[in-house]
């Protein structure tokens, strides 16, 4: 296996007295799409937040391209090429659609993604570019959130439940864009509730259960049985 680009080593995370992650260890190689699955409260979002720097951890617990980033702030991590599409989209309501995209690219990292290309990927965002972000439908808002992350030209993109609360047809539309996104050599970690979809879009999966890695393996190899066991700990 080639050297991992992201190396998570015995990561713990706490919210006050509650420990959300217990020694999670995980490797991601460049260009890989990794699906993160698990029941509600298993620690998936916490793990993404820790990688993105919204939750500080032990410095050496997360290595990005060999560099310890656990103790860095989110903006410092963003500058190193990690972008996140947060759960619930969380757009900036005071900004227009276009401004939301522009601010995603405000660090000025070079790469394939420009305003033009994002608007070509999701043409509705060009059409509605002067709308306030909160005036769009849920699916369109999700496109803004993805576009905003792409505008940073990241090397690793973290996507947290991008299908949450959307109609099936909209979900398909968004997942149809995924190949175009990762075709650029982007590494991705995707949190997805729909296990069939998670398996079909990813190279490998990690299943978390109560803050611990319960199962990992290539997506084509894992069996439904194994996932069910890892999911519920039975």
């Amino acid at each position: 296996m080639p050297d991992p680009v992201l190396n998570i080593d015995a990561l713990d995370a706490h919210y006050g007295d509650f420990q959300a992650l217990h020694g999670v260890t995980m490797q991601v190689t460049a260009g890989e799409v990794l699906a993160l699955i698990g029941a509600n409260g298993a620690g998936k979002t916490t793990l993404l937040r820790a990688v993105a720097g919204l939750l500080r951890s032990r410095s050496g617990a997360i290595l990005w391209q060999g560099r310890p980033i656990g103790a860095l702030r989110a903006d410092q991590i963003a500058a190193l090429g990690i972008a996140m599409v947060p759960e619930g989209r969380l757009l900036f309501d005071s900004l227009t659609v276009e401004e939301n995209l522009i601010i995603g690219g405000q660090l000025g990292r070079r790469g394939p993604w420009t305003l033009e290309r994002v608007q070509t990927l999701f043409p509705i965002l060009r059409e509605r570019r002067h709308f306030p972000a909160n005036a769009l439908s849920g699916g369109q808002q999700q496109m803004v959130a993805i576009g905003r992350a792409l505008m940073a030209n990241p090397e690793l993109i973290l996507m947290d439940e991008i299908s949450l609360g959307l109609a099936p047809v909209v979900i398909r539309q968004i997942y149809d864009a995924l190949p175009a996104i990762v075709a650029e050599g982007l590494t991705a970690i995707i949190v997805e509730q729909d296990i069939t979809r998670a398996l079909s879009v990813s190279h490998r999966i990690y299943c978390l259960q109560e803050g611990r890695v319960a199962l990992t393996g290539p997506s084509v190899d894992v069996t439904r049985d194994a996932i069910a066991r890892a999911y519920f700990g039975v």
Binding site: D75, D93, S94, Q106
Partner: protein, 287 residues
């Protein structure tokens, strides 16, 4: 005639109050910070200008070239080194820290300059006036009002048309997500405070030219500023200008009724507006 004159003078006075308020409005809008020391920072700016004019023999308006960037730098450092540590959900820590700052500034000024009132000497321009129909308007109040309109217009443009303004709005919306975009909250907040104190410096110099000032004069200016912000409605800079004008007119009309009513009339109008429209006259639509 007396009344029309009072209203005209009140409108112009409102320009000064809008300058007191613009910085407050900005930092409250961006970071929900209530800066109790804001008035003392206005007075501090007047003293800094006094020192600059005396030391270099500059005209107070020329001294702005030094005082404005100086106060902006001070604001950046203040936010970065002290106030950022107090920011959070709870309003009490920033309130207390700025209360402490207020007492520190007042007493430092007392130590440095004594309690004697001071004034900035702007020469002929202080007494110059122009005839506008039946009204006689001072050149200086007109200049202050024009500056207030220009400053608010510039802030408005900055807020809605520049990258910095975008960063301010994004951080104001969602601090943590803005951080994900590579915006360092500590820096964004410090930039907002720098901008706030730049406007404050302008307000301080105008205050010092208009009236005598002393180290204890900060709290009244803070209150006028806040009243203008709240009357106008939060997050609306043009509303802040309107709030300043309403407050100014209330005061000059009150003073025409009875000299002792000037400030009181302003407060009463403020409380009355609050009773009827707790979110001000022109609040931003959301929230």
């Amino acid at each position: 005639m007396e009344w029309i004159n009072a209203i005209a003078q009140g409108v112009l006075l409102g320009g000064l109050y809008a300058l007191f308020a613009a910085g407050l409005s900005l930092i409250f809008g961006i970071m929900r910070l209530v800066n109790i020391a804001h008035g003392d920072l206005i007075v501090l700016s007047a003293y800094v200008a006094l020192t600059v004019t005396l030391a270099l023999g500059l005209h107070p308006l020329l001294a702005l070239v030094l005082v404005v960037p100086g106060m902006a730098l001070f604001g950046y450092a203040l936010q970065r080194l002290i106030l950022n540590r107090a920011m959070g959900e709870d309003i009490l820590p920033p309130l207390l820290v700025t209360f402490g700052l207020s007492v520190i500034i007042q007493n430092a000024l007392l130590t440095g300059y004594s309690a004697d009132p001071q004034k900035l000497d702007a020469g002929w321009i202080e007494t110059a006036s122009v005839q506008a129909g039946p009204l006689v308007l001072g050149v200086m109040p007109l200049l202050v009002f024009a500056c207030a309109v220009a400053v608010i217009g510039a802030l408005q443009w900055m807020f809605y048309r520049t990258a910095l303004g975008r960063a301010f709005r994004a951080t104001s919306d969602r601090q943590d997500i803005a951080q994900l975009m590579g915006l360092n909250r500590a820096h964004v907040f410090a930039m907002a405070m720098a901008l706030c104190l730049a406007v404050t410096a302008l307000a301080g110099v105008f205050l010092g030219i208009r009236t005598a000032f002393d180290p204890a004069g900060g709290s009244a200016r803070l209150i006028y500023g806040f009243e203008a912000v709240i009357i106008g409605g939060l997050g609306n800079l043009w509303g802040t200008l309107a709030g300043g004008v309403i407050l100014g007119v209330a005061q000059t009309v009150g003073a025409t009724i009875h000299p002792g009513f000037q400030v009181l009339a302003g407060h009463l109008v403020f409380l009355a507006i609050l009773a009827v429209r707790p979110r001000g006259l022109f609040p931003r639509r959301e929230e």
